[in-house]
């Protein structure tokens, strides 16, 4: 019998464990996809359409190939498999054939021995375009007679229409407010540009090292386009510099593989920032029309809504975004009568798809704006109105789905409301004033405003999708100590999933030394690092695989020791609590390895006519209070403070949870006051970080955060997805605060200085409610 004492290992579930990749990252030694090199490597580059809509009469690459240092110049004719890919349906060519449908669509790719040579080769490719009128207005694209952009789409330019009918859709109410809202096109703006390295293999296949969100969905699309069996297209995750949805679709994956297979040399492709704006999908711009009906006490009677999402040139994940906007589109409120119609539409604008919040963001800006409008009409406090209608556990969604775990919407609102308000800004410190050190104001004309927002998000994939993850866990003894390795294809994008996997293995097995192996397609799919799902689904898979390993170890120990034992804190322990053996004693040279495919509870499709169905597996909620100072004459906004309350079920890593809430809130701030891809006639006008602004450390205010841990009994450890909810509610809270300060209607995000300073007669009188003059 071992005499070792039992002690709990550090870095378990619930601890703020340090990320295993942190030391490499601060040393500058973490290998991001753009850092990769191979001997004899070539550089790939992409020729893109300058037109949002054009017919291609001809493409001539001859002059590019005559440039010294150029090894390949490929067009659609060189795509060996089907020249189509796409997440939902394959409607997008790898390289354009006879038509281009958006500005920036890839037309040809080249490989050369220096990136500048590759760029010059692109200039030598002659493409004869017949420019066509672009379809740039999503509503007009739905109209009869609009040019049809994808003849194979049965709905014309309507990619998907989700209808939800609940109760009496024509119900009348004592008080009715209507509104029309618009959301601009937001970019994920991850810092690490699209990049990767494709290496041709001896077996005729290819090894691709790439930054992505979902290795296996890349693998299947790349293999399809290359005409290769999936096992000949092997993907390994390279370091990912952020994702936020933008890496769910392919970018350079097929292109690099095509060039590598053609040249028989490794090919690296790295987008610059400008190209990155054309290289990935964006958040859908939206037009949202709402009618809220309530009784005189502020109880919601009905919501009628129409949402049009501009999907741009290709489908990407638009169908799923439409379902989210529709099913979550009345917000976290109890409403007996609902009529919701949401459309996703093809246009010649940049393709739109996944971005953090995924359809819930656009709807939340509209329904929360409506709640403020209703509160004002009723003369009610906006938080009180929300609390009166707040959904709770047991409430029914407009889809008929009953919310069957914690839904502390009212509590989240109370928490942010009851936080102390920040002190007035110091008018002598320009850093605290709108406009900052540009010194545009000295505090005169600065008005403070306070606003609130609360949102709802589904966690994981929905509508009957077979949403699973695979984990392989291995236990062995090395150097006399038990060591665990965890192998999944789950993508670490920065969120801390590698840490979570370690923490789960330490918790389940009580072993300190846990290694998370590089993610690759050598193990089964983990699904996407999106939809706030990986801690839940891959976390669930790792937990289940650890349990199998533990069971196997205990059975082995029982055989060897001749009595039943359990695994407690890394020791084999008898029923009376005595340590019977160490893992090393029992295991010796044996290795225990178990692979588990793990699924969350099934979801179901929506009824196509009524939108009824248990489409989602888990809901998540966050609320924000925003405090802003606005220079009402110059239209400049300074967000002074953001308070957030969010239920995370169980904080697997409290520090990482806070990091998600801070970062998500910052992206919502960006959408509220600065971030928009400006698209004019289908053409992007600001594809750079000089012209597309994301929040700096000066723009982002201090945050006060309450994290609730109300366990979801259906989820591993009770956890609830964390990443998306804070992005959803911060935007409407900030805009509500600006409205409170300015009296402007502000029906569009991002709010621009002109909307505040030049809104003219459209403004309402400045209400007396929450504002405090700055000086």
């Amino acid at each position: 019998m071992s005499t070792a004492t039992r002690e709990t290992v550090a870095g378990r579930v619930g601890d703020s464990a340090v990320r295993p990749d942190a030391a490499l990252k601060v040393r500058g030694e973490f290998a991001y996809s753009s850092d990769l090199f191979a001997d004899d490597m070539l550089w790939g580059a992409t020729l893109r359409s300058p037109h949002p809509h054009a017919r291609i009469r001809s493409i001539d690459v001859t002059a590019a190939l005559t440039l010294p240092g150029v090894y390949a110049a490929l067009t659609h004719a060189d795509v060996p498999g089907e020249n189509r890919y796409g997440l939902d349906h394959r409607d997008q060519p790898v390289l354009a054939e006879d038509v281009v449908r958006y500005q920036g669509e890839p037309v040809a790719v080249v490989a050369a021995d220096h990136p500048e040579t590759a760029r010059r080769a692109l200039d030598r490719i002659a493409v004869d375009y017949q420019v066509l009128d672009p379809v740039v207005d999503a509503e007009l694209a739905m109209a009869e007679g609009a040019p049809v952009l994808h003849p194979e789409c049965p709905g014309g330019n309507v990619l998907r229409h989700v209808r939800i009918r609940r109760g009496d859709p024509e119900a009348t109410a004592e008080v009715v407010v209507t509104g029309e809202y618009r959301v601009g096109m937001q970019d994920q703006a991850f810092l690490g540009p699209e990049s990767g390295l494709a290496v041709p293999a001896e077996d005729g296949g290819v090894d691709l090292h790439v930054a992505t969100q979902w290795l296996h969905v890349d693998q299947s699309q790349v293999a399809h386009a290359l005409g290769l069996p999936p096992e000949k297209v092997r993907l390994t995750l390279a370091g990912v510099g952020g994702a936020f949805g933008a890496r769910e679709d392919l970018s350079m994956q097929v292109h690099a593989c095509l060039l590598a297979l053609r040249t028989r040399r490794p090919v690296k492709m790295v987008y610059g920032r400008e190209e990155s704006f054309f290289g990935h999908v964006h958040r859908h711009p939206a037009l949202l029309r709402y009618e809220h009906g309530a009784d005189r006490h502020g109880r919601l009677v009905s919501v009628r809504a129409e949402i049009v999402l501009d999907g741009g040139a290709y489908a990407s994940s638009t169908p799923a975004v439409v379902a989210n906007a529709a099913t979550l589109g009345i917000g976290p409120y109890q409403v007996p009568n609902v009529r919701m119609d949401c459309w996703g539409v093809y246009t010649n604008n940049p393709p739109c798809g996944a971005m953090r919040g995924f359809g819930a963001v656009q709807a939340c800006f509209a329904y929360e704006s409506q709640m403020d409008k209703l509160a004002e009409r009723l003369g009610m406090d906006p938080v009180e109105l929300r609390i009166r209608n707040a959904m709770r556990e047991g409430s029914t969604m407009p889809t008929g789905q009953v919310v069957d775990s914690a839904a502390p919407v009212a509590e989240l609102l109370r928490r942010v409301r009851d936080k102390p308000l920040p002190p007035p800004a110091d008018p002598t410190d320009p850093r605290d004033l709108p406009g900052g050190v540009a010194n545009t104001t000295r505090g005169d004309g600065v008005v403070r405003g306070v606003g609130y927002g609360v949102g709802i998000k589904n966690v994981a994939f929905s509508e009957g999708f077979d949403d699973y993850s695979t984990a392989r866990v291995r236990l062995e003894v090395l150097g006399g100590e038990p060591v665990v390795s965890v192998h999944t294809a789950a993508v670490e994008v920065g969120q801390g999933l590698v840490t979570v996997q370690q923490q789960i293995a330490r918790t389940e097995l009580g072993i300190a030394r846990v290694t998370v192996l590089p993610a690759d397609t050598g193990v089964g799919s983990a699904g996407s690092s999106s939809a706030s799902r990986q801690s839940y689904v891959t976390g669930g898979a790792v937990k289940a695989a650890c349990e199998r390993v533990r069971d196997t170890l205990c059975a082995l120990a029982a055989t060897r020791l001749g009595r039943e034992v359990g695994l407690v804190d890394g020791k084999l322990v008898t029923a009376d609590g005595a340590v019977a053996a160490s893992i090393a004693d029992v295991l010796g040279d044996e290795v225990i390895e178990r692979t588990v495919e793990w699924r969350h509870r099934p979801t179901f499709p929506l009824d196509p006519l009524t939108g009824q169905g248990n489409a989602h597996t888990q809901y998540a909620f966050a609320a924000h209070r925003a405090v802003v100072d606005v220079d009402v004459e110059l239209g400049l906004v300074k967000v002074v403070e953001l308070a957030c309350a969010q239920d995370v079920g169980r904080a697997i890593n409290p520090q990482a949870v806070l990091g998600q809430i801070h970062g998500g809130s910052a992206q919502g701030l960006g959408l509220a006051v600065m971030e928009e891809i400006q698209v004019v006639d289908g053409t992007v006008r600001n594809p750079s970080f000089t012209d597309y602004l994301i929040p700096t450390i000066v723009d982002m205010p201090p945050m006060v955060v309450d994290v609730l841990e109300l366990a979801d009994p259906h989820a591993p450890y009770g956890l609830r997805g964390v990443g998306e909810p804070p992005t959803i509610s911060s935007t409407p809270a900030i805009v509500a605060a600006i409205r409170a300060a300015t009296g402007r209607a502000l029906t569009r995000v991002p709010v621009r200085p002109d909307d505040i300073a030049l809104a003219g007669s459209a403004s309402r009188p400045v209400p007396s409610r929450p504002e405090v003059p700055c000086d």
């Binding site: 703020s16 040393r27 500058g28 991001y32 790295v270 920032r273 994008v493 970062g663 450390i697 201090p702």
Partner: protein, 185 residues
């Protein structure tokens, strides 16, 4: 062209550098130092921040030839062997690293800030790091990291490495200590 440059204390010579290449691509693509990152190519994001003769610069905005005969220090040159620099250690502990793409630039910018102002106020931190974009963290844990590094004397290390003359740069000069413990929160 040939470029001679001292990088992280080591004299390096690189031949056949194209005149259009930046210091950033010289470091990343030729000298095997990919720590400084290329995220915007316009000096907006600060991911490529390195010291050039002791002054933080965006390496994407400096031509490789401009580094001729000069001294460069990158994120790879901050740690002392296996021991992380206190600024690096603070970023690790405070959760200031998520995807980490902005981290190298932020580390150099923080290292520079703390060498000038040993206990910066939050306002000073925000102003000093305003040129470094981070898309993941919302900056809260970055502020925590800078405060933590300051309390550990993160700016007092390796002063000898710094160029003695920093005249002409706004905010530059001899290291100073605001001495205000209130600033540390």
């Amino acid at each position: 062209m040939r470029v001679n440059v001292e990088v992280n204390g080591e004299q390096r010579t690189e031949d056949n550098v194209w005149e259009g290449e930046s210091l950033l691509s010289l470091l990343r693509d030729r000298l095997g130092l990919p720590g400084a990152k290329n995220a915007c190519e316009q000096g907006e994001c600060g991911s490529c921040t390195v010291y050039l003769d002791g002054v933080p610069v965006c390496a994407c905005l400096v031509a490789a030839g401009q580094a001729e005969g000069r001294s460069v220090r990158t994120v790879e040159g901050l740690a002392d062997g296996d021991a992380l620099h206190p600024v690096q250690q603070a970023f690790v502990e405070a959760g200031a690293v998520q995807c980490g793409f902005c981290t190298p630039g932020l580390l150099v910018a923080t290292h520079d800030l703390l060498s000038r102002v040993s206990h910066p106020s939050d306002g000073e931190i925000r102003e000093a790091l305003a040129g470094n974009l981070c898309r993941c963290t919302g900056y809260e844990h970055i502020l925590d990291a800078v405060r933590l590094a300051a309390t550990r004397g993160g700016g007092r290390r390796d002063q000898e490495w710094r160029s003695p003359d920093r005249a002409g740069r706004p905010g530059a000069g001899a290291p100073r200590d605001t001495g205000d413990p209130e600033c540390e929160r």
